[in-house]
């Protein structure tokens, strides 16, 4: 149940996997971060270096991030969420973007990252 969904894979290593998120365009967002069904965090705004777990422990699981972005900036209806994973074979960073139709509206962004 999301307006913008993206699916990715992330190759973990032996080290700790960390996750960061940034809600862009000056908008306000609130996010849920889950590992499979277990919620790791619910927070507003940016999330920096959240420990997901050690590589071997999280391998085979799915990191699921859902963010509600609210159109708090009158000057634009653009919305974006940037996701970053580190600690694996190499860092992964990607951005989901969309534009909300209605002034003051909201979009639900979802990212599903299979930790392989």
């Amino acid at each position: 149940m999301a307006d913008v969904t993206v699916d990715k894979n992330y190759k973990v290593g032996d080290g700790k996997v960390e996750f960061s998120l940034l809600v862009g365009e000056g908008q306000f967002g609130r996010s849920d971060v889950r590992l499979n069904t277990q919620r790791l965090l619910r927070a507003s705004g940016s999330i920096g270096n959240l420990l997901v777990g050690n590589g071997p422990e999280v391998q085979g699981k799915t990191l699921r991030i859902r963010t509600v972005v609210n159109d708090t900036v009158a000057a634009t209806n653009k919305m974006s969420v940037t996701y970053k994973l580190s600690g694996g074979a190499k860092d992964l960073e990607f951005t989901s973007k969309d534009t909300v139709d209605k002034e003051g509206g909201n979009l639900i962004f979802e990212a599903n990252i299979d930790l392989t």
Binding site: F28, G45, N70, G105, N106
Partner: protein, 371 residues
């Protein structure tokens, strides 16, 4: 339906008769679209493209349709917001440094009007083009009530996140067993609740947007513009015409405790405007106003303006000092008074400004409902 107002002057003594220099302080504040002000137009339709593609298509369409320079064209664009800014956080937007403030408030205005011929019935002999910019070097700080609005929005977002998870789980159940009537019923209910929560979030978000227009602290807004006449639409024959520059520093305080909801505020604003026409000295107007809004009903203000004429002008330098009182008896009924001395009139005397009146509103104010 819009509110129509009618001002009834119940007492008016020595109100200006032939006031050649009439100018209000609002006329001197940095305008939103300097190009239109300098061209002397109030365009009914202003193009406001929000993407580079829309801007390009708009310009191409206007130029090809006009087969040259478009006439009666008005464009207002915020270049910064044409592009995506995935690294701009809510906090950076709400608390910008000088560079970020200039970028995010920068507004470009462009307007064109026909250059009239020798007589009113003659065909235009070219096009007048106006170009203007406006930006806030300092844009105050977020209204203290923003934190309250966020605190109101977060629980609604939490409901959205919970319901979105519930919907996702129910969809998985139905995907495994499409005949699960209970899950299907629950899914429909959850989707309905989710739609309702998203509407509520949109409503709270619009309030939050409105608070952005009620920022407090120090503001410094500047604007400038230039008009050119282009004879026969031949750009090699363009001639610089009127130009203007505005500087508007101001400071706004809330008249109550940081988080309290109240209508009380105090605002001090200074204005400087210079206008320059070809072959004439620049005219400089400057002034200041202090406004105290005691509550939702009662507002007191005092303003002083000075106009320095060019040496070529037949009018003398002059000033105006006026106090204003406003009492909102009802939403649609305002009692107002204005007292002081106006600019010199053409006889050289300074008329007394003494007005007491009622402003009556008819109809209902427009209401925009968030969907």
């Amino acid at each position: 339906m819009r509110t129509t107002s009618l001002a009834l002057l119940v007492f008016a003594a020595s109100v200006t008769g032939a006031r050649a220099q009439s100018v209000a302080i609002d006329d001197l504040a940095a305008p939103q679209s300097p190009a239109f002000i300098l061209l002397g137009v109030s365009p009914a339709n202003v193009e406001r493209p929000e993407t580079p593609k829309a801007l390009t298509l708009n310009l191409i369409d206007k130029v090809t349709t006009a087969n040259g320079l478009p006439r009666n064209y008005a464009l207002s664009v915020a270049p910064y917001w044409l592009a995506s800014h995935p690294n701009l956080t809510f906090e950076q937007y709400q608390n910008p440094d000088v560079k970020q403030s200039i970028l995010q408030t920068f507004l470009l205005s462009v307007g064109t009007v026909p250059l009239p011929g020798a007589t009113s019935s003659a065909d235009p002999i070219g096009t007048k083009i106006g170009l203007g910019v406006r930006t806030a070097i300092f844009n105050g700080r977020a209204n203290p009530r923003l934190a309250l609005a966020i605190a109101e929005l977060e629980p609604v977002d939490d409901i959205i996140l919970d319901l979105a998870e519930k919907v996702a789980e129910l969809k998985k159940v139905i995907a495994k067993n499409p005949k699960d009537a209970e899950a299907t019923k629950n899914l429909a209910a959850a989707e309905q609740e989710l739609a309702t929560a998203r509407k509520e979030a949109a409503s709270v978000t619009l309030n939050l947007q409105a608070l952005d227009a009620e920022r407090v602290g120090f503001f410094l807004t500047v604007a400038g513009g230039q008009v050119w006449s282009v004879l026969d639409d031949d750009t090699s024959r363009a001639r610089a015409e009127k130009r203007g520059f505005w500087v508007t520093p101001s400071y706004r305080w809330r008249g109550c405790a940081a988080m309290a909801e109240c209508e009380s505020s105090f605002e001090a604003i200074a204005v400087v405007r210079t206008l320059k026409e070809p072959e004439l000295d620049a005219v400089v107007d400057y002034g200041a106003r202090a406004v105290w809004k005691a509550n939702k009903q009662f507002t007191v203000s005092i303003e002083a303006l000075r106009r320095n004429q060019s040496e070529d002008s037949v009018e003398d330098d002059s000033n105006r000092t006026v106090g204003l009182l406003e009492y909102r008896i009802r939403q649609d009924l305002i009692l107002f008074g204005s007292f002081g001395k106006d600019f010199k009139d053409i006889t050289g005397t300074k008329p007394l400004v003494s007005l007491l009146g009622l402003n009556l509103g008819f109809g209902k104010a427009s209401v925009i409902k968030a969907r």
